[in-house]
């Protein structure tokens, strides 16, 4: 059965209905269609997914702390969305390419971006922290939804290169209102591009609830673009892994794009500059805490007879070490030299920028001269 068949039933797009393989209590829910996609995921593999989620949650908390301490200008927390990000990124092949927004810390981390690269943008020392080609992750995107078109174009190129790699575009519920995302759906569908549109519906676009963006489940948007839309419990890492694998496989075999709506929740503020107490209830947060992606996986592991106490201890140590590494990398990021402001504006030499650089260097030299005069006078 293809995603498209499944979608045609409407079964997965009812509000209460989504693909779920592990429920809130950590109980494994069997699903004849999706179980085969994660048949290889044994207790050890589940333990690795648990470890991934704990580490990214810890890294995220460290990012928030670094911002609060004035070491980062801003931080967009991922708390609550660990399963959606880890489940999907772990479905990717090494030669697949991810196009993210600014909140996909877990995606960048899982693709091997070093600690320094995870904080560069937010410390304000450079606009991006890694080489996209090295990690198959594009530079983070702040303009809402723009990356959906980039993922689509990349996927069109993959197809024209006769490769069976795929692209994945990460965006949020708010982005589904932008023209770019809808235009990406059109292009991807028209060209049968091997791209997976991975929408993390975290319920809030800063202060705007998802109901303002759509009067029906976001996954159903896919119908109008003739692609399958699938709704998944975004706090169930196993289900996210299953549906993303399925959508990627569909892309690889040449059947075109899919839209995944991962239903999750932004537990923190939009960014550290935001104050969600102005627009949402504590009760809503409490309800989502009950659906925590990490707690339920731990419960599942316990039910499988895994030594969870040992796993928790080891994982906490690994997470603390990762956080310490992130902090050290952050504090180690030096301010860039003044004249680097002129670097990389163009790929080729540019006479105009070169001239401005030269003029600004002369200007800065005035102060160097003044400083040395003052030093001289002080002796």
């Amino acid at each position: 059965m293809t995603l498209s068949d499944r979608d045609a039933t409407g079964l997965l797009t009812r509000p209460e209905s989504f693909v779920q393989l592990v429920d809130e209590t950590g109980t494994r829910r069997h699903d004849a269609e999706f179980d085969p996609w994660v048949a290889d995921v044994d207790a050890a593999a589940l333990g690795r997914l648990y470890r991934d989620m704990v580490i990214v949650r810890r890294l995220d908390a460290e990012g928030v702390a670094l911002q609060r301490q004035g070491e980062l200008g801003l931080w967009p927390p991922l708390a609550g969305q660990e399963a959606a990000q880890i489940g999907s990124v772990r479905a990717l092949r090494d030669d697949d390419f991810a196009f993210t927004s600014y909140r996909e810390l877990a995606v960048a981390w899982a693709r091997g971006v070093p600690a320094e690269g995870l904080v560069t943008t937010w410390r304000g020392t450079a606009s991006s922290g890694w080489d996209p080609a090295a990690h198959r992750v594009a530079v983070p995107q702040i303009i809402i939804g723009a990356q959906a078109l980039h993922a689509t174009g990349y996927a069109m190129g993959v197809r024209w290169d006769h490769s069976d790699a795929a692209a994945i575009a990460y965006f949020g519920d708010g982005a589904t209102s932008e023209g770019d995302v809808n235009e990406a759906f059109v292009f991807a569908s028209s060209f049968e591009a091997p791209v997976v549109f991975f929408c993390q519906n975290n319920q809030w676009a800063i202060s705007e609830p998802v109901g303002l963006q759509s009067k029906q489940e976001l996954a159903r948007r896919a119908d109008g673009f003739a692609m399958p839309g699938i709704r998944v419990d975004g706090n169930d890492v196993l289900a996210v892994l299953a549906v993303t694998r399925m959508a990627l496989e569909r892309a690889r075999r040449g059947d075109g794009p899919s839209l995944i709506e991962a239903v999750t929740y932004r537990m923190g503020p939009h960014t550290t500059a935001d104050d969600p107490s102005r627009y949402r209830d504590e009760a809503e947060l409490a309800a989502w805490r009950e659906r925590d992606p990490i707690a339920r996986l731990l419960a599942l592991l316990e039910g499988l007879g895994v030594d969870v106490a040992g796993l928790e201890r080891e994982t906490a140590e690994a997470a603390d070490a990762a956080a310490a590494e992130l902090r050290a990398a952050c504090l180690g990021l030096a301010d860039p030299p003044a004249l680097s402001v002129f670097e990389h504006v163009y790929a080729e030499p540019n006479s105009h920028v070169a001239r401005q650089r030269e003029h600004y260097a002369r200007y800065l030299a005035l102060f160097a001269d003044e400083a040395s005069d003052e030093n001289g006078a002080g002796r």
Partner: protein
């Protein structure tokens, strides 16, 4: 008179506009319950309701395109673009639609849309949050482009922009949102200075220094510093970038013979280029020196740790003043 921040002065001005005309509606992302990310619309939805102060889906093209439709229907939409760098998805609707509709309809359709844009840098923000895109719009026939620099002007000019029958790009210097000043909230709009007229904010005799937005304060500080050095700078707050109030500028330049234009936006194709060229044409025989521009570099807005090397500050403005006076400066001995 009341002491208000620039942000609060805008809030009160918007409130007056909503109260004065039932066809005024505010549209934007997060402007309702949250009151906008800068709180400029704080409390307005509670006071005027969800049909007057409207949280929109996330789409700048959608916001501006529907504002054009609302204008067809006789509304006066006021659109908030959350940050300067987010305006581009709405560019077509501004430049190809809102700007041209009055012309294309041979004057039968008015487009009284105000597009509010927090703009400029200096707040240590992430990418796309510190830009100065005003020249794109000043270049576009059919648009009016204005910039407030202080609370009193902000309060009056936002109401004038909303009352205007033309589409107005209304730029707000976000790093000055918290700057305080005296505002006469009871003043009649009818008696207020039109938003198209520039203001001489500090009189002077030796150099005319023209700027707008956040740099007006920097320019005033530069004038004070220069005075200690025996140089008298006349600072002019442009207020309107399209059209430019050339009579005020010409009167000053004819007296001083020297012009410096400063802005945060890049130099190439910028507002400063237009003003320098126009004043050279109009005042050539009065100029003692070629006009000097002090601007951001022609680079994408840099990451936060480098923005102090991009934004013109007091020292860079004074260096420009030295250039126009022919005194020792950073480019002494360099072919201009």
């Amino acid at each position: 008179m009341t002491t208000l921040t620039l942000g609060k002065a805008l809030n009160r001005g918007l409130r007056n506009a909503l109260a004065a005309d039932p066809r005024v509606v505010l549209l934007g992302e997060d402007i309702g319950t949250l009151g906008g990310v800068f709180r400029i619309t704080d409390g307005l939805q509670a006071e005027f309701g969800r049909e007057r102060v409207v949280d929109s889906p996330l789409s700048e093209a959608g916001l501006i395109g529907t504002a054009v439709g609302l204008a067809y229907r006789g509304f006066r939409p006021v659109v908030e673009i959350q940050f300067d760098g987010f305006i581009y998805p709405g560019f077509d609707q501004i430049v190809a639609q809102a700007a041209k509709l009055h012309y294309r309809s041979r004057g039968t359709v008015k487009v009284p849309i105000t597009i509010r844009v927090p703009f400029g840098g200096g707040i240590g923000a992430a990418e796309h949050h510190s830009e100065s895109p005003e020249a794109y719009f000043a270049h576009t026939a059919g648009l009016r482009v204005v910039v407030c620099s202080n609370p009193a002007d902000a309060h009056v000019m936002i109401q004038q922009a909303i009352a205007s029958d033309d589409p107005v790009l209304f730029f707000e210097p976000k790093r000055r949102y918290h700057a305080k000043g005296e505002v006469d909230e009871a003043a009649s709009l009818a008696d207020a200075k039109p938003m198209g007229i520039a203001t001489v904010v500090a009189p002077g005799d030796d150099v005319t220094l023209v700027t707008y937005g956040a740099l007006v304060q920097t320019a005033k500080d530069a004038a004070v510093a220069a005075a200690e050095d025996g140089v008298s700078i006349e600072v002019i707050d442009l207020r309107s970038l399209a059209p430019v109030d050339y009579p005020t500028l010409e009167a000053s330049v004819r007296r001083t013979g020297r012009l410096v234009v400063a802005h945060e936006a890049g130099q190439q194709g910028g507002v400063g280029a237009e003003i320098a060229a126009s004043l050279t044409e109009r005042c050539f025989d009065y100029l003692e020196h070629a006009p000097v521009r002090v601007t951001g570099h022609d680079i994408p807005y840099p990451p936060a740790k480098l923005e102090q090397h991009h934004l013109p500050d007091l020292d860079r403005i004074l260096d420009g003043v030295d250039r126009v006076l022919g005194r020792a400066n950073s480019l002494s001995g360099v072919e201009a």
